[in-house]
């Protein structure tokens, strides 16, 4: 069998399932609307405010910086696992990486990227 056969099969099943689940409710579901059901679902709790609320732009900046540094910190894990195999070369590579990261961190800090104003 072609090695891509299973992929094609998987693709067909995925499409069929998605199609089935989106068409089936329209065919067999009973419709009994009430105001509760029409509301936005929020973890089973009654919604307290409009969904389209306003966020401060700062939030996005902080969130973005968090993601960047978080992902960079996450790249320490594979190195830590392989540290003994990579030996001194891996250590030096990591030191270079930390220096680059540190300069970026200092730059963001100095430029007020972490200040909530």
């Amino acid at each position: 069998m072609n090695p891509y056969g299973p992929v094609a099969l998987y693709l067909c099943v995925a499409f069929a399932a998605a199609l089935l689940f989106s068409v089936l409710p329209g065919l067999v579901a009973r419709r009994k609307p009430n105001p509760e059901k029409a509301e936005a679902y929020e973890c089973g709790v009654e919604p307290t405010s409009a969904v389209a609320g306003r966020f401060p732009v700062r939030f996005y900046l902080i969130a973005m910086l968090f993601v960047i540094f978080d992902v960079e910190a996450a790249s320490f894990y594979p190195w830590a696992v392989q540290m003994h195999a990579l030996r001194i070369y891996g250590l030096l590579e990591m030191i270079v990486f930390i220096i680059v990261l540190g300069i970026g961190y200092a730059y963001v800090w100095k430029k007020g990227g972490f200040a909530w104003r």
């Binding site: 891509y4 070369y89 300069i103 970026g104 100095k110």
Partner: protein
């Protein structure tokens, strides 16, 4: 270096890129410690030193073949040539930035330009799919930010447009790479040249998607609509940088795929859509120029057509074609940077000299600048005494020789159309128009911009008399 398990070749190979990366970190550090703030000239000086170091290191690699990172990055003549083109583009746009930069964003902008060039140089030597993508994204990410690096509505629009459209193109490219990897089982470009791939439908689909991604980055016609808008909104030095460095880096990748990564006999079929698209670009780009009233938009459309010319040279896949393509690309680099340098020289602090009306009467106010601009426009149009003419003649010869005379014909037609558009700039400068005495000279004399203009002039003229076409590029490509 002794500590490196991969051998010193890896370090030697990426030395120019490392020099640029270190320079960009130094700019950021200088920006941090400087009181009150780093000046434009300080940041640009560090950047230019880094660029010079990178250029020297790249030149020293000429003829030395290092296959670094398990074959992912290859040096030699081909890589060196494209790295030097990137270095020229970087140096030129840094010099323009020193004249025109936004004082609040010096450090970040210069650092981003240097990082973007790291990506472009990585693309120049990339010999596997992952290195290509890494370099492309490094370049593109830097450019997304650079496009928005000025307080102007158009700049934000430009950055957003470029981000969304370019990411879509990256998606195509990546999908194509995934299929190519699926077909060949290897990320190395050299492994794509195996003959049994020619019968594999995955290879054809993959290379099609891959080429769509590249065509977008080169702004060939069905994928060109972003270029004028993005160029118009971006700061002038960034536009100058984009118009040269992005094209050079993408052309380097394209040339390597064309010459070193296709199964024998498939090139004319795989690449046929590209040649057709290049032919359309030469016509549509030049027609698009006719309606423009902004130098940046005009040069964006011009760039669309110029890429078509360069691709025409490569169309036959001959060694000579690659030589002429490189010759024309280098000449284009100088002509285009020169035109942007003139635009910078007539810019004011808050007003970029990009609109064609600000050229009215320039011949009277600044005769030398007007003469230089005329020369660059003639060169871009491919008129006789310039390198542009020589390049086009060589391209015509090689396209006819390799059986793509129809592309040569489209080149001639496109050139004829473009003459009118380039002449519009010249006419604005020389012919007295109603009300041109109202246009004041916006800025006394900007030394760095004038030096850039002069250097670009020298470059174009030198290219005419000493056609520098590195002869041993092709053997070093693989």
């Amino acid at each position: 270096m002794i500590l490196n398990p991969f051998g010193t070749a890896d370090w030697m190979a990426i030395a120019p890129i490392v020099a640029l990366a270190i320079a960009s970190l130094l700019v950021l550090l200088a920006d941090l410690v400087a009181r009150p703030a780093i000046s434009r000239y300080g940041a640009v000086a560090i950047g230019l030193l880094g660029t010079a170091a990178a250029a020297v290191l790249a030149a020293m690699q000429y003829g030395h073949v290092y296959a670094a990172f398990f074959g992912g990055f290859v040096t030699g003549g081909f890589t060196t040539v494209f790295e030097e083109i990137v270095a020229i583009a970087l140096a030129g746009s840094l010099a323009l930035y020193a004249t025109l930069g936004d004082p609040k964003r010096i450090g970040g902008t210069v650092a981003l330009m240097l990082w973007g060039s790291c990506g472009a140089m990585l693309m120049a030597g990339a010999a596997n799919l992952m290195t290509i993508f890494l370099g492309l994204e490094l370049l593109s990410l830097a450019l997304y930010c650079l496009c928005g690096m000025v307080d102007r509505r158009g700049a934000r629009e430009s950055a957003l447009k470029y981000l969304i459209l370019s990411s879509t193109a990256s998606g195509f490219l990546l999908f194509g790479m995934a299929l190519l990897f699926g077909a060949s089982g290897s990320v190395l470009l050299a492994d794509l040249a195996r003959p049994q791939l020619a019968a594999n439908p995955l290879f054809w689909m993959g290379s099609g998607l891959f080429l769509i991604g590249l065509a977008f980055k080169m702004s060939l016609v069905p994928f060109h609509a972003w270029a004028p808008d993005v160029y118009e909104g971006a700061p002038l030095p960034v536009t100058a940088y984009m118009s040269v460095a992005t094209k050079a880096a993408t052309l380097a990748v394209f040339a390597r795929v064309l010459y070193a990564a296709l199964p024998a006999g498939t090139a004319s079929h795989v690449m046929l859509p590209v040649w057709i698209v290049a032919g359309i670009s030469m016509i549509a780009g030049n027609v698009g120029m006719l309606a423009q009233h902004d130098l940046k938009r005009l040069l964006a459309y011009s760039g669309i057509a110029q890429v078509g010319y360069i691709l025409t040279a490569m169309a036959g896949g001959s060694a000579l074609g690659l030589r002429y393509a490189i010759y024309y690309l280098v000449a284009y680099t100088f002509m285009n940077l020169g035109a942007f340098a003139v635009a910078t020289a007539i810019s004011g602090e808050h007003e970029e000299g990009a609109r064609l009306v600000s050229y009215a009467g320039l011949a009277r106010r600044r005769p030398w600048l007007a003469a230089a601009m005329t020369f660059f426009m003639l060169a871009l149009a491919g008129m006789p005494p310039t390198a542009g003419f020589l390049g086009k003649i060589l391209i015509l010869a090689t396209s006819a020789d390799s059986g793509y005379a129809w592309l040569g014909g489209l080149l001639v037609a496109g050139t004829a159309i473009s003459l009118y558009a380039y002449a519009k700039v010249v006419r604005a400068m020389y012919l007295p128009q109603s009300g041109d005495h109202h246009v004041a000279d916006l800025r006394p004399i900007a030394p760095l911009a004038w030096i850039s203009v002069t250097l670009c002039l020298i470059g174009v003229i030198a290219m005419t008399f000493y056609p520098l076409t590195p002869s041993n590029v092709l053997p070093l490509l693989r």
